[in-house]
Structure formats: C-alpha cells, structure tokens
Amino acid sequence: MSTLRIESQDAGRGVTVVRPAGSIDAHTYRQMQEAMARLLATRASVVVDLSAVDYVSSMGAGVLIHVHAQLEARGGGLIVAAVRPTVMETMRVLGLTQVFAFAPSAAEGVRLLGEATGVIS
C-alpha cells in the first residue's frame, strides 16, 4: 500500500519547508493537499523537499500546480527541491520544468526564497 508521511518545518523568514516521504499518488494525494492547505492559510513561501518521494502521480503534480498558483497570486513563492531523476521525468513530461522553480536541496531552496523576498540582504 502507498504510504505518505509529511513533516513541515519553519525555516524562518516566512518560509516553511515541507518534507513528504513516500509516494504521492491517487491514494495519498489528499494528505498532501490537506497539509498544503493548512500551510497556505498562514505562510507566504514554501519549499517542498521531494528527496524522499519516489513517485508523483498526476494528482500529486496537480497539488503542486494548485499551490504554485495560490502562492503566486499572493506574491509568495514555491520552490520544489531535491527532486529525484525519475520524478523529474514526470515534471518534464507535464512541462512543469518551465513552471516551477527548482533547487538541488531544501537549504538552497530556502536561501533562494529568502533572496527573492528580499529578507536576506
């Protein structure tokens, strides 16, 4: 059975790092959707660390698309970090490599978001 665990951590500077672990498929995507909805209510910028995610279905990609649109509309930012090469294939096929900002690690994603919001000089 697909499993998904999700942790989130306040990285300071208005940025939250979300760390899902497992597969984001039609069985588990609602967990991701709910975790992101809770964050969207209060946070401006989010790094989604996918280093421990071995599969992202269309439903999982859809959650990220929705989060991206919501954050963009309020002037925040989304960075997708540490994507495995296989999962990046899904992003490529969907054309999302031209849509999302990517970072090689969550730490780098936090740094980039800090720069983008001008909080870090």
Binding site: H27, M59, G62, V63
Partner: protein, 142 residues
C-alpha cells in the same frame, strides 16, 4: 520476429491502495528491460490508467476487478489494463491544455495527458469476453 521476453499478469481490486502494487509490478517486469526513467514512465502511464478505471470505470467502488498484463517483445513494451466497470474511453477525451491548468491552478485532469504523452500507442476496446481493455504500447530506447 521478436521473441516474447516477458509476459506477466496482476489482478487487483479497484482500490487506490492497490496502486503501489501496480507500479511495483510494472517496474519488476521492466527491471532488466528498460532504463530506470523509462520504466518509471511506463509505471506512471499504467498507474494513471488504473486510477482512471478506479475513478471512472468503477466510480469509487473498491471491489471491482482489474487485470494488468505486461509483455516485452524486443524493444516493444505492451500493457493491458482490463476491467468490467463502466465504459470509459480515455482515447476519446478532449485534448488537455496543461498551460491552462497551470494558469488556473487546477489540480485534476492531468492523468490522461500523462498517459498519452508517455505511450506511443493507446487503444480502448470491448473484448469478446465482455471486458473493457485499454492497450498501451511503449517503444523502449535501450
């Protein structure tokens, strides 16, 4: 004529909890036949096909029967997804505009796009024994 290298079948219920088994089955069948990223994409196409059957074919009833078959013949990977639910022909669905999805922040409806983008050939038909059968073909590069 290509030799038939692999022929395997998996029976699952129409329950989203079964999707990880489906993907593992496809990845195992392609373990020595395809590159990791290519095997992953085939598993993705099959996962999306089975997800569609669960949602549209059986309307959320978790007890429907789904059969998945896979064979590799030379560089051709062929997959069948069979069910006895409602008729749902993904080959007849309208084209999907991913850019519009992104602009509008839509979270659903990309599974068909992925299936079509990954597979080189998709067909859907009713078989003589009364099943609906989605056929996916992917030419392997390796």
């Amino acid at each position: 004529m290509n030799a038939r290298d692999t022929l395997a079948r998996l029976d699952v219920r129409s329950d989203p909890a079964e999707l990880s088994r489906v993907r593992a089955f496809v990845l195992r069948a392609l373990e020595t036949k395809a590159r990791d990223t290519e095997a992953y994409l085939v598993a993705q196409a099959v996962d999306e096909a089975v997800s569609n059957v669960i949602e549209h074919g059986y309307g959320g009833d978790p007890e429907g029967a789904i059969e998945v078959g896979i064979e590799v013949a030379g560089r051709d990977c062929r997959v069948w997804v069979r069910d006895t639910g409602c008729w749902f022909d993904p080959t007849e669905a309208a084209e999907i505009d991913v850019e519009r999805h992104v602009r509008e922040g839509r979270s659903r409806g990309l599974g068909l796009y992925l299936m079509r983008a990954i597979a080189d050939d998709i067909r859907y038909e009713r078989t003589d024994d009364g099943w609906h059968e989605l056929y996916l073909e992917k030419h392997l590069a390796q």
